[in-house]
Symmetry: D2
Subunit: 145 residues, 4 copies
Protein backbone atom coordinates (compact mmCIF):
# COMPACT_ATOMS: atom_id res chain seq x y z
CA UNK A 1 0.00 0.00 0.00
CA UNK A 2 1.26 3.42 -1.03
CA UNK A 3 2.33 6.50 0.85
CA UNK A 4 -0.10 8.94 2.45
CA UNK A 5 -0.76 12.41 1.14
CA UNK A 6 -1.12 14.76 4.12
CA UNK A 7 -3.37 17.80 4.43
CA UNK A 8 -3.28 19.92 7.60
CA UNK A 9 -6.36 21.39 9.26
CA UNK A 10 -7.12 23.59 12.25
CA UNK A 11 -10.47 23.45 14.11
CA UNK A 12 -12.25 26.80 13.76
CA UNK A 13 -15.45 27.81 15.57
CA UNK A 14 -17.66 27.00 12.55
CA UNK A 15 -16.35 23.40 12.53
CA UNK A 16 -17.66 22.72 16.06
CA UNK A 17 -21.05 21.94 17.55
CA UNK A 18 -22.77 22.42 20.95
CA UNK A 19 -20.55 19.65 22.39
CA UNK A 20 -17.43 21.77 21.84
CA UNK A 21 -16.00 19.28 19.35
CA UNK A 22 -15.89 19.01 15.57
CA UNK A 23 -19.36 18.21 14.22
CA UNK A 24 -19.26 14.77 12.59
CA UNK A 25 -20.17 16.06 9.12
CA UNK A 26 -17.34 18.61 9.08
CA UNK A 27 -14.80 15.86 8.47
CA UNK A 28 -16.43 15.17 5.07
CA UNK A 29 -15.34 18.67 3.97
CA UNK A 30 -11.78 18.04 5.08
CA UNK A 31 -11.68 14.65 3.38
CA UNK A 32 -12.80 16.28 0.13
CA UNK A 33 -10.22 19.08 0.39
CA UNK A 34 -7.45 16.55 1.11
CA UNK A 35 -8.46 14.51 -1.95
CA UNK A 36 -8.56 17.55 -4.25
CA UNK A 37 -5.19 18.77 -2.97
CA UNK A 38 -3.74 15.28 -3.40
CA UNK A 39 -4.88 15.30 -7.03
CA UNK A 40 -3.25 18.71 -7.47
CA UNK A 41 0.01 17.35 -6.01
CA UNK A 42 -0.22 14.55 -8.57
CA UNK A 43 -0.63 17.11 -11.34
CA UNK A 44 -4.40 17.00 -11.78
CA UNK A 45 -6.33 20.23 -11.11
CA UNK A 46 -9.86 19.09 -10.26
CA UNK A 47 -11.42 22.20 -11.83
CA UNK A 48 -9.63 21.35 -15.10
CA UNK A 49 -11.15 17.88 -14.96
CA UNK A 50 -14.60 19.46 -14.55
CA UNK A 51 -13.89 21.82 -17.44
CA UNK A 52 -12.93 18.82 -19.60
CA UNK A 53 -16.47 17.52 -19.00
CA UNK A 54 -15.83 14.97 -16.26
CA UNK A 55 -16.74 14.71 -12.61
CA UNK A 56 -15.74 12.40 -9.76
CA UNK A 57 -18.80 12.06 -7.53
CA UNK A 58 -18.64 10.13 -4.29
CA UNK A 59 -20.66 6.92 -4.57
CA UNK A 60 -19.67 5.31 -1.26
CA UNK A 61 -18.52 6.76 2.02
CA UNK A 62 -17.71 4.97 5.26
CA UNK A 63 -16.34 6.65 8.33
CA UNK A 64 -15.45 5.44 11.81
CA UNK A 65 -15.11 8.13 14.46
CA UNK A 66 -12.49 7.26 17.07
CA UNK A 67 -11.85 10.30 19.25
CA UNK A 68 -13.08 13.88 18.93
CA UNK A 69 -11.20 17.06 18.06
CA UNK A 70 -11.73 20.26 20.06
CA UNK A 71 -11.78 23.95 19.15
CA UNK A 72 -8.31 25.19 18.24
CA UNK A 73 -6.82 21.70 17.77
CA UNK A 74 -4.72 20.85 14.74
CA UNK A 75 -4.87 17.61 12.81
CA UNK A 76 -3.61 16.00 9.64
CA UNK A 77 -5.91 14.39 7.10
CA UNK A 78 -4.03 11.49 5.54
CA UNK A 79 -5.28 10.03 2.28
CA UNK A 80 -4.11 7.70 -0.48
CA UNK A 81 -5.69 6.17 -3.55
CA UNK A 82 -5.76 2.40 -3.76
CA UNK A 83 -5.69 0.39 -6.98
CA UNK A 84 -8.77 0.99 -9.16
CA UNK A 85 -11.50 -1.65 -9.12
CA UNK A 86 -13.12 -1.41 -12.53
CA UNK A 87 -14.58 2.09 -12.64
CA UNK A 88 -14.24 2.59 -8.88
CA UNK A 89 -11.52 4.81 -7.41
CA UNK A 90 -11.04 3.92 -3.75
CA UNK A 91 -9.48 6.33 -1.29
CA UNK A 92 -8.31 5.49 2.21
CA UNK A 93 -8.35 8.01 5.05
CA UNK A 94 -6.94 8.60 8.49
CA UNK A 95 -7.34 11.81 10.46
CA UNK A 96 -4.84 12.17 13.27
CA UNK A 97 -4.83 14.93 15.92
CA UNK A 98 -1.49 16.71 16.22
CA UNK A 99 -1.99 19.28 19.01
CA UNK A 100 -2.70 19.84 21.84
CA UNK A 101 -2.47 16.03 21.94
CA UNK A 102 -1.94 13.31 19.38
CA UNK A 103 -4.56 10.64 18.76
CA UNK A 104 -6.46 8.91 15.98
CA UNK A 105 -9.70 10.79 15.19
CA UNK A 106 -11.16 9.03 12.18
CA UNK A 107 -10.59 6.24 9.70
CA UNK A 108 -12.59 5.98 6.50
CA UNK A 109 -12.93 5.15 2.86
CA UNK A 110 -14.42 7.02 -0.06
CA UNK A 111 -15.24 5.59 -3.47
CA UNK A 112 -15.51 7.78 -6.56
CA UNK A 113 -16.54 7.00 -10.10
CA UNK A 114 -15.79 9.07 -13.18
CA UNK A 115 -18.82 10.44 -14.94
CA UNK A 116 -19.35 12.26 -18.19
CA UNK A 117 -21.04 15.50 -17.18
CA UNK A 118 -22.94 15.95 -20.45
CA UNK A 119 -24.25 12.40 -20.63
CA UNK A 120 -24.77 11.96 -16.86
CA UNK A 121 -23.18 8.53 -17.26
CA UNK A 122 -20.30 6.61 -15.79
CA UNK A 123 -17.24 6.63 -18.06
CA UNK A 124 -16.42 2.97 -18.76
CA UNK A 125 -14.15 3.41 -21.78
CA UNK A 126 -11.45 5.80 -20.72
CA UNK A 127 -10.73 8.47 -23.38
CA UNK A 128 -7.10 9.65 -23.84
CA UNK A 129 -7.45 12.92 -21.86
CA UNK A 130 -8.80 11.03 -18.88
CA UNK A 131 -6.26 8.21 -19.23
CA UNK A 132 -3.61 10.88 -18.85
CA UNK A 133 -5.18 11.88 -15.52
CA UNK A 134 -5.29 8.30 -14.26
CA UNK A 135 -1.69 7.74 -15.36
CA UNK A 136 -0.55 10.71 -13.30
CA UNK A 137 -2.37 9.37 -10.24
CA UNK A 138 -0.93 5.91 -10.84
CA UNK A 139 2.63 7.15 -11.14
CA UNK A 140 2.32 9.09 -7.89
CA UNK A 141 0.90 6.28 -5.82
CA UNK A 142 2.84 3.42 -7.42
CA UNK A 143 6.07 5.22 -6.66
CA UNK A 144 5.90 3.98 -3.14
CA UNK A 145 3.95 0.74 -3.57
Amino acid sequence: VGQWFEYGVRVQPHHTDYAGIVWHGTYIQWMEAARVECLREVGVAFDDLVRLGYDLPVVDLAVRYHQPLRLGATAVVKTRMLAMQGVRLNWDYEIVALAPDSHLCLTGTVTLVTIDRAKHKIVRRIPPDLQDVFDKIGVYFQASI
Copy 2:
Protein backbone atom coordinates in the same frame (compact mmCIF):
# COMPACT_ATOMS: atom_id res chain seq x y z
CA VAL B 1 -44.51 48.36 4.17
CA GLY B 2 -45.88 44.96 3.19
CA GLN B 3 -46.68 41.81 5.07
CA TRP B 4 -44.06 39.32 6.21
CA PHE B 5 -43.61 35.87 4.73
CA GLU B 6 -42.82 33.44 7.54
CA TYR B 7 -40.55 30.39 7.42
CA GLY B 8 -40.17 28.16 10.48
CA VAL B 9 -36.89 26.63 11.61
CA ARG B 10 -35.69 24.33 14.38
CA VAL B 11 -32.11 24.42 15.73
CA GLN B 12 -30.41 21.09 15.00
CA PRO B 13 -26.98 20.03 16.28
CA HIS B 14 -25.24 20.95 13.01
CA HIS B 15 -26.52 24.54 13.31
CA THR B 16 -24.72 25.11 16.62
CA ASP B 17 -21.13 25.85 17.63
CA TYR B 18 -18.94 25.27 20.71
CA ALA B 19 -20.91 27.98 22.56
CA GLY B 20 -24.07 25.86 22.39
CA ILE B 21 -25.84 28.44 20.24
CA VAL B 22 -26.52 28.83 16.53
CA TRP B 23 -23.29 29.68 14.71
CA HIS B 24 -23.61 33.18 13.24
CA GLY B 25 -23.24 32.00 9.63
CA THR B 26 -26.04 29.45 9.92
CA TYR B 27 -28.65 32.21 9.79
CA ILE B 28 -27.54 33.01 6.21
CA GLN B 29 -28.78 29.55 5.16
CA TRP B 30 -32.14 30.14 6.81
CA MET B 31 -32.48 33.59 5.25
CA GLU B 32 -31.85 32.06 1.82
CA ALA B 33 -34.37 29.26 2.36
CA ALA B 34 -37.00 31.76 3.56
CA ARG B 35 -36.44 33.90 0.46
CA VAL B 36 -36.69 30.94 -1.93
CA GLU B 37 -39.85 29.67 -0.21
CA CYS B 38 -41.34 33.17 -0.29
CA LEU B 39 -40.75 33.28 -4.05
CA ARG B 40 -42.44 29.88 -4.36
CA GLU B 41 -45.44 31.18 -2.40
CA VAL B 42 -45.58 34.07 -4.85
CA GLY B 43 -45.60 31.61 -7.77
CA VAL B 44 -41.92 31.73 -8.73
CA ALA B 45 -39.91 28.50 -8.47
CA PHE B 46 -36.30 29.61 -8.12
CA ASP B 47 -35.00 26.56 -10.01
CA ASP B 48 -37.26 27.51 -12.95
CA LEU B 49 -35.72 30.99 -12.92
CA VAL B 50 -32.26 29.39 -13.07
CA ARG B 51 -33.39 27.13 -15.91
CA LEU B 52 -34.65 30.20 -17.81
CA GLY B 53 -31.06 31.47 -17.68
CA TYR B 54 -31.27 33.94 -14.80
CA ASP B 55 -29.84 34.09 -11.32
CA LEU B 56 -30.39 36.29 -8.27
CA PRO B 57 -27.04 36.55 -6.50
CA VAL B 58 -26.71 38.38 -3.20
CA VAL B 59 -24.74 41.60 -3.67
CA ASP B 60 -25.23 43.11 -0.19
CA LEU B 61 -25.89 41.53 3.16
CA ALA B 62 -26.20 43.22 6.54
CA VAL B 63 -27.11 41.43 9.73
CA ARG B 64 -27.47 42.51 13.35
CA TYR B 65 -27.41 39.74 15.93
CA HIS B 66 -29.63 40.52 18.93
CA GLN B 67 -29.95 37.40 21.07
CA PRO B 68 -28.79 33.84 20.45
CA LEU B 69 -30.78 30.67 19.75
CA ARG B 70 -29.97 27.41 21.53
CA LEU B 71 -30.07 23.75 20.49
CA GLY B 72 -33.65 22.54 20.08
CA ALA B 73 -35.16 26.04 19.94
CA THR B 74 -37.70 26.99 17.28
CA ALA B 75 -37.82 30.30 15.47
CA VAL B 76 -39.54 32.00 12.59
CA VAL B 77 -37.63 33.70 9.79
CA LYS B 78 -39.71 36.66 8.63
CA THR B 79 -38.95 38.24 5.26
CA ARG B 80 -40.50 40.65 2.79
CA MET B 81 -39.39 42.29 -0.43
CA LEU B 82 -39.35 46.07 -0.51
CA ALA B 83 -39.88 48.19 -3.62
CA MET B 84 -37.17 47.66 -6.27
CA GLN B 85 -34.46 50.31 -6.52
CA GLY B 86 -33.35 50.18 -10.16
CA VAL B 87 -31.94 46.68 -10.59
CA ARG B 88 -31.71 46.04 -6.82
CA LEU B 89 -34.20 43.77 -5.06
CA ASN B 90 -34.12 44.55 -1.35
CA TRP B 91 -35.30 42.06 1.25
CA ASP B 92 -35.95 42.79 4.91
CA TYR B 93 -35.50 40.17 7.63
CA GLU B 94 -36.39 39.46 11.22
CA ILE B 95 -35.72 36.18 12.98
CA VAL B 96 -37.78 35.71 16.12
CA ALA B 97 -37.39 32.86 18.62
CA LEU B 98 -40.66 31.08 19.37
CA ALA B 99 -39.75 28.40 21.94
CA PRO B 100 -38.64 27.75 24.63
CA ASP B 101 -38.84 31.55 24.91
CA SER B 102 -39.74 34.36 22.53
CA HIS B 103 -37.22 37.05 21.65
CA LEU B 104 -35.76 38.89 18.68
CA CYS B 105 -32.69 37.03 17.35
CA LEU B 106 -31.66 38.91 14.23
CA THR B 107 -32.59 41.77 11.94
CA GLY B 108 -31.07 42.14 8.51
CA THR B 109 -31.29 43.10 4.89
CA VAL B 110 -30.24 41.32 1.71
CA THR B 111 -29.93 42.88 -1.74
CA LEU B 112 -30.13 40.80 -4.91
CA VAL B 113 -29.63 41.70 -8.54
CA THR B 114 -30.84 39.73 -11.53
CA ILE B 115 -28.10 38.43 -13.77
CA ASP B 116 -28.08 36.72 -17.13
CA ARG B 117 -26.23 33.46 -16.49
CA ALA B 118 -24.87 33.11 -20.02
CA LYS B 119 -23.59 36.70 -20.29
CA HIS B 120 -22.51 37.00 -16.60
CA LYS B 121 -24.13 40.44 -16.65
CA ILE B 122 -26.77 42.32 -14.68
CA VAL B 123 -30.12 42.35 -16.49
CA ARG B 124 -31.03 46.03 -16.93
CA ARG B 125 -33.70 45.69 -19.61
CA ILE B 126 -36.24 43.25 -18.23
CA PRO B 127 -37.37 40.69 -20.86
CA PRO B 128 -41.03 39.53 -20.81
CA ASP B 129 -40.40 36.19 -19.04
CA LEU B 130 -38.61 37.96 -16.20
CA GLN B 131 -41.16 40.79 -16.07
CA ASP B 132 -43.75 38.10 -15.38
CA VAL B 133 -41.70 36.98 -12.36
CA PHE B 134 -41.38 40.53 -11.03
CA ASP B 135 -45.09 41.14 -11.55
CA LYS B 136 -45.94 38.10 -9.45
CA ILE B 137 -43.68 39.32 -6.65
CA GLY B 138 -45.17 42.81 -6.92
CA VAL B 139 -48.74 41.59 -6.73
CA TYR B 140 -47.96 39.55 -3.64
CA PHE B 141 -46.20 42.28 -1.72
CA GLN B 142 -48.26 45.22 -2.92
CA ALA B 143 -51.39 43.48 -1.73
CA SER B 144 -50.61 44.70 1.74
CA ILE B 145 -48.69 47.89 1.03
Copy 3:
Protein backbone atom coordinates in the same frame (compact mmCIF):
# COMPACT_ATOMS: atom_id res chain seq x y z
CA VAL C 1 -38.01 -4.55 10.89
CA GLY C 2 -39.98 -1.54 12.07
CA GLN C 3 -41.73 1.32 10.38
CA TRP C 4 -39.89 4.32 8.91
CA PHE C 5 -40.01 7.80 10.39
CA GLU C 6 -40.18 10.30 7.52
CA TYR C 7 -38.66 13.78 7.38
CA GLY C 8 -39.24 15.99 4.33
CA VAL C 9 -36.58 18.18 2.76
CA ARG C 10 -36.31 20.65 -0.11
CA VAL C 11 -33.03 21.33 -1.95
CA GLN C 12 -32.04 24.97 -1.40
CA PRO C 13 -29.15 26.75 -3.15
CA HIS C 14 -26.79 26.30 -0.17
CA HIS C 15 -27.28 22.50 -0.34
CA THR C 16 -25.89 22.30 -3.88
CA ASP C 17 -22.40 22.36 -5.39
CA TYR C 18 -20.86 23.38 -8.76
CA ALA C 19 -22.42 20.27 -10.36
CA GLY C 20 -25.93 21.62 -9.71
CA ILE C 21 -26.74 18.75 -7.36
CA VAL C 22 -26.78 18.27 -3.61
CA TRP C 23 -23.21 18.21 -2.27
CA HIS C 24 -22.54 14.74 -0.82
CA GLY C 25 -21.91 16.03 2.72
CA THR C 26 -25.23 17.89 2.87
CA TYR C 27 -27.11 14.61 3.32
CA ILE C 28 -25.36 14.14 6.69
CA GLN C 29 -27.18 17.24 7.97
CA TRP C 30 -30.52 15.91 6.79
CA MET C 31 -29.85 12.49 8.33
CA GLU C 32 -29.11 14.16 11.66
CA ALA C 33 -32.24 16.33 11.52
CA ALA C 34 -34.40 13.30 10.67
CA ARG C 35 -32.94 11.38 13.63
CA VAL C 36 -33.51 14.24 16.07
CA GLU C 37 -37.07 14.75 14.84
CA CYS C 38 -37.71 11.00 15.06
CA LEU C 39 -36.58 11.11 18.71
CA ARG C 40 -38.92 14.04 19.31
CA GLU C 41 -41.83 12.07 17.77
CA VAL C 42 -40.96 9.28 20.17
CA GLY C 43 -41.13 11.71 23.08
CA VAL C 44 -37.41 12.42 23.52
CA ALA C 45 -36.23 16.01 23.04
CA PHE C 46 -32.55 15.73 22.16
CA ASP C 47 -31.71 19.03 23.89
CA ASP C 48 -33.25 17.64 27.12
CA LEU C 49 -30.98 14.60 26.81
CA VAL C 50 -27.99 16.92 26.48
CA ARG C 51 -29.17 18.94 29.49
CA LEU C 52 -29.43 15.68 31.50
CA GLY C 53 -25.71 15.23 30.84
CA TYR C 54 -25.78 12.73 27.98
CA ASP C 55 -24.85 12.87 24.33
CA LEU C 56 -25.34 10.54 21.36
CA PRO C 57 -22.29 11.00 19.14
CA VAL C 58 -22.03 9.24 15.79
CA VAL C 59 -19.35 6.54 15.91
CA ASP C 60 -19.97 4.92 12.53
CA LEU C 61 -21.43 6.26 9.33
CA ALA C 62 -21.83 4.49 5.99
CA VAL C 63 -23.57 5.98 3.01
CA ARG C 64 -24.18 4.78 -0.54
CA TYR C 65 -25.12 7.46 -3.07
CA HIS C 66 -27.50 6.15 -5.73
CA GLN C 67 -28.82 9.08 -7.75
CA PRO C 68 -28.40 12.82 -7.24
CA LEU C 69 -30.93 15.47 -6.21
CA ARG C 70 -31.14 18.81 -8.04
CA LEU C 71 -31.89 22.37 -6.95
CA GLY C 72 -35.56 22.77 -5.99
CA ALA C 73 -36.22 19.02 -5.70
CA THR C 74 -38.08 17.57 -2.74
CA ALA C 75 -37.21 14.34 -0.98
CA VAL C 76 -38.07 12.34 2.09
CA VAL C 77 -35.45 11.15 4.56
CA LYS C 78 -36.63 7.82 5.97
CA THR C 79 -35.08 6.51 9.16
CA ARG C 80 -35.69 3.85 11.78
CA MET C 81 -33.78 2.57 14.77
CA LEU C 82 -32.89 -1.11 14.78
CA ALA C 83 -32.50 -3.25 17.92
CA MET C 84 -29.62 -2.08 20.14
CA GLN C 85 -26.38 -4.05 19.96
CA GLY C 86 -24.81 -3.64 23.40
CA VAL C 87 -24.18 0.10 23.69
CA ARG C 88 -24.63 0.71 19.96
CA LEU C 89 -27.78 2.34 18.60
CA ASN C 90 -28.07 1.55 14.90
CA TRP C 91 -30.13 3.66 12.54
CA ASP C 92 -31.12 2.75 9.01
CA TYR C 93 -31.64 5.37 6.30
CA GLU C 94 -33.16 5.80 2.88
CA ILE C 95 -33.49 9.11 1.09
CA VAL C 96 -36.05 9.06 -1.72
CA ALA C 97 -36.66 11.88 -4.21
CA LEU C 98 -40.32 12.89 -4.45
CA ALA C 99 -40.41 15.64 -7.09
CA PRO C 100 -39.86 16.51 -9.89
CA ASP C 101 -39.26 12.74 -10.20
CA SER C 102 -39.15 9.85 -7.77
CA HIS C 103 -35.99 7.79 -7.29
CA LEU C 104 -33.75 6.39 -4.58
CA CYS C 105 -31.01 8.90 -3.67
CA LEU C 106 -29.18 7.34 -0.75
CA THR C 107 -29.09 4.39 1.58
CA GLY C 108 -27.07 4.41 4.76
CA THR C 109 -26.54 3.50 8.36
CA VAL C 110 -25.48 5.50 11.38
CA THR C 111 -24.35 4.11 14.73
CA LEU C 112 -24.55 6.15 17.92
CA VAL C 113 -23.36 5.43 21.44
CA THR C 114 -24.55 7.14 24.59
CA ILE C 115 -21.88 9.04 26.45
CA ASP C 116 -21.75 10.77 29.80
CA ARG C 117 -20.80 14.35 28.95
CA ALA C 118 -19.05 15.05 32.26
CA LYS C 119 -16.98 11.86 32.29
CA HIS C 120 -16.40 11.75 28.48
CA LYS C 121 -17.19 8.02 28.69
CA ILE C 122 -19.59 5.58 27.11
CA VAL C 123 -22.57 4.82 29.37
CA ARG C 124 -22.54 1.05 29.87
CA ARG C 125 -24.83 0.81 32.89
CA ILE C 126 -28.01 2.59 31.93
CA PRO C 127 -29.29 4.90 34.72
CA PRO C 128 -33.10 5.22 35.21
CA ASP C 129 -33.48 8.59 33.43
CA LEU C 130 -31.76 7.20 30.34
CA GLN C 131 -33.61 3.87 30.53
CA ASP C 132 -36.80 5.91 30.27
CA VAL C 133 -35.50 7.40 27.01
CA PHE C 134 -34.60 4.00 25.57
CA ASP C 135 -38.00 2.60 26.62
CA LYS C 136 -39.77 5.35 24.70
CA ILE C 137 -37.71 4.61 21.60
CA GLY C 138 -38.33 0.88 22.00
CA VAL C 139 -42.10 1.29 22.34
CA TYR C 140 -42.22 3.41 19.21
CA PHE C 141 -40.19 1.10 17.02
CA GLN C 142 -41.42 -2.21 18.44
CA ALA C 143 -44.97 -1.21 17.64
CA SER C 144 -44.39 -2.24 14.10
CA ILE C 145 -41.74 -4.93 14.49
Copy 4:
Protein backbone atom coordinates in the same frame (compact mmCIF):
# COMPACT_ATOMS: atom_id res chain seq x y z
CA VAL D 1 -5.30 52.58 9.44
CA GLY D 2 -3.19 49.53 10.23
CA GLN D 3 -1.72 46.75 8.18
CA TRP D 4 -3.74 43.80 6.90
CA PHE D 5 -3.40 40.27 8.22
CA GLU D 6 -3.65 37.86 5.29
CA TYR D 7 -5.19 34.39 5.25
CA GLY D 8 -5.08 32.29 2.08
CA VAL D 9 -7.96 30.14 0.84
CA ARG D 10 -8.65 27.76 -2.05
CA VAL D 11 -12.17 27.13 -3.41
CA GLN D 12 -13.07 23.47 -2.85
CA PRO D 13 -16.19 21.75 -4.20
CA HIS D 14 -18.08 22.10 -0.89
CA HIS D 15 -17.62 25.90 -1.00
CA THR D 16 -19.52 26.22 -4.29
CA ASP D 17 -23.19 26.20 -5.27
CA TYR D 18 -25.23 25.29 -8.40
CA ALA D 19 -23.92 28.47 -10.11
CA GLY D 20 -20.35 27.10 -10.03
CA ILE D 21 -19.19 29.89 -7.73
CA VAL D 22 -18.58 30.23 -4.01
CA TRP D 23 -21.92 30.26 -2.16
CA HIS D 24 -22.36 33.67 -0.51
CA GLY D 25 -22.46 32.26 3.04
CA THR D 26 -19.16 30.41 2.64
CA TYR D 27 -17.22 33.65 2.91
CA ILE D 28 -18.46 34.02 6.52
CA GLN D 29 -16.48 30.87 7.41
CA TRP D 30 -13.35 32.27 5.80
CA MET D 31 -13.77 35.62 7.54
CA GLU D 32 -14.01 33.83 10.89
CA ALA D 33 -10.94 31.67 10.21
CA ALA D 34 -8.92 34.75 9.15
CA ARG D 35 -9.94 36.57 12.37
CA VAL D 36 -9.02 33.62 14.59
CA GLU D 37 -5.68 33.16 12.82
CA CYS D 38 -4.99 36.90 13.08
CA LEU D 39 -5.58 36.68 16.86
CA ARG D 40 -3.19 33.73 17.00
CA GLU D 41 -0.54 35.75 15.12
CA VAL D 42 -1.02 38.48 17.73
CA GLY D 43 -0.45 35.92 20.49
CA VAL D 44 -4.06 35.19 21.44
CA ALA D 45 -5.30 31.62 21.02
CA PHE D 46 -9.08 31.92 20.70
CA ASP D 47 -9.66 28.59 22.43
CA ASP D 48 -7.64 29.86 25.43
CA LEU D 49 -9.91 32.90 25.57
CA VAL D 50 -12.94 30.59 25.61
CA ARG D 51 -11.31 28.49 28.34
CA LEU D 52 -10.75 31.67 30.40
CA GLY D 53 -14.54 32.12 30.33
CA TYR D 54 -14.88 34.71 27.57
CA ASP D 55 -16.35 34.71 24.09
CA LEU D 56 -16.30 37.13 21.16
CA PRO D 57 -19.65 36.73 19.39
CA VAL D 58 -20.39 38.60 16.18
CA VAL D 59 -23.02 41.29 16.80
CA ASP D 60 -22.89 43.02 13.41
CA LEU D 61 -21.92 41.80 9.97
CA ALA D 62 -22.01 43.68 6.68
CA VAL D 63 -20.74 42.30 3.42
CA ARG D 64 -20.66 43.61 -0.14
CA TYR D 65 -20.11 41.02 -2.87
CA HIS D 66 -18.15 42.43 -5.79
CA GLN D 67 -17.15 39.56 -8.10
CA PRO D 68 -17.51 35.81 -7.65
CA LEU D 69 -14.86 33.13 -7.10
CA ARG D 70 -14.92 29.87 -9.07
CA LEU D 71 -14.03 26.27 -8.21
CA GLY D 72 -10.27 25.86 -7.83
CA ALA D 73 -9.57 29.59 -7.51
CA THR D 74 -7.28 30.95 -4.80
CA ALA D 75 -7.88 34.10 -2.82
CA VAL D 76 -6.55 36.00 0.16
CA VAL D 77 -8.79 37.10 3.03
CA LYS D 78 -7.39 40.38 4.35
CA THR D 79 -8.47 41.59 7.78
CA ARG D 80 -7.45 44.16 10.39
CA MET D 81 -8.88 45.34 13.67
CA LEU D 82 -9.76 49.00 13.93
CA ALA D 83 -9.68 51.04 17.16
CA MET D 84 -12.22 49.79 19.74
CA GLN D 85 -15.43 51.76 20.13
CA GLY D 86 -16.45 51.23 23.75
CA VAL D 87 -17.07 47.47 23.98
CA ARG D 88 -17.17 47.00 20.21
CA LEU D 89 -14.26 45.41 18.34
CA ASN D 90 -14.52 46.33 14.66
CA TRP D 91 -12.84 44.30 11.96
CA ASP D 92 -12.39 45.33 8.36
CA TYR D 93 -12.27 42.80 5.50
CA GLU D 94 -11.28 42.49 1.89
CA ILE D 95 -11.21 39.25 -0.05
CA VAL D 96 -9.12 39.39 -3.20
CA ALA D 97 -8.88 36.67 -5.85
CA LEU D 98 -5.30 35.68 -6.66
CA ALA D 99 -5.61 33.01 -9.37
CA PRO D 100 -6.56 32.25 -12.10
CA ASP D 101 -7.22 36.01 -12.18
CA SER D 102 -6.94 38.83 -9.66
CA HIS D 103 -9.99 40.86 -8.66
CA LEU D 104 -11.80 42.18 -5.60
CA CYS D 105 -14.38 39.63 -4.37
CA LEU D 106 -15.77 41.07 -1.17
CA THR D 107 -15.49 43.96 1.25
CA GLY D 108 -17.03 43.81 4.69
CA THR D 109 -17.01 44.61 8.37
CA VAL D 110 -17.62 42.49 11.45
CA THR D 111 -18.24 43.77 14.97
CA LEU D 112 -17.57 41.62 18.03
CA VAL D 113 -18.23 42.22 21.70
CA THR D 114 -16.59 40.41 24.59
CA ILE D 115 -18.97 38.44 26.75
CA ASP D 116 -18.58 36.61 30.02
CA ARG D 117 -19.66 33.04 29.20
CA ALA D 118 -20.91 32.24 32.71
CA LYS D 119 -22.94 35.43 33.15
CA HIS D 120 -24.09 35.66 29.48
CA LYS D 121 -23.27 39.37 29.70
CA ILE D 122 -21.12 41.87 27.85
CA VAL D 123 -17.84 42.56 29.66
CA ARG D 124 -17.77 46.32 30.30
CA ARG D 125 -15.05 46.45 32.95
CA ILE D 126 -12.05 44.71 31.47
CA PRO D 127 -10.38 42.32 33.96
CA PRO D 128 -6.55 41.99 33.88
CA ASP D 129 -6.46 38.69 31.93
CA LEU D 130 -8.60 40.17 29.20
CA GLN D 131 -6.74 43.50 29.22
CA ASP D 132 -3.65 41.47 28.42
CA VAL D 133 -5.41 40.09 25.34
CA PHE D 134 -6.50 43.53 24.17
CA ASP D 135 -3.01 44.92 24.76
CA LYS D 136 -1.53 42.23 22.50
CA ILE D 137 -4.02 43.07 19.76
CA GLY D 138 -3.34 46.79 20.20
CA VAL D 139 0.43 46.39 19.97
CA TYR D 140 0.09 44.37 16.77
CA PHE D 141 -2.23 46.76 14.97
CA GLN D 142 -0.77 50.00 16.32
CA ALA D 143 2.63 48.98 15.05
CA SER D 144 1.62 50.14 11.64
CA ILE D 145 -0.91 52.86 12.44
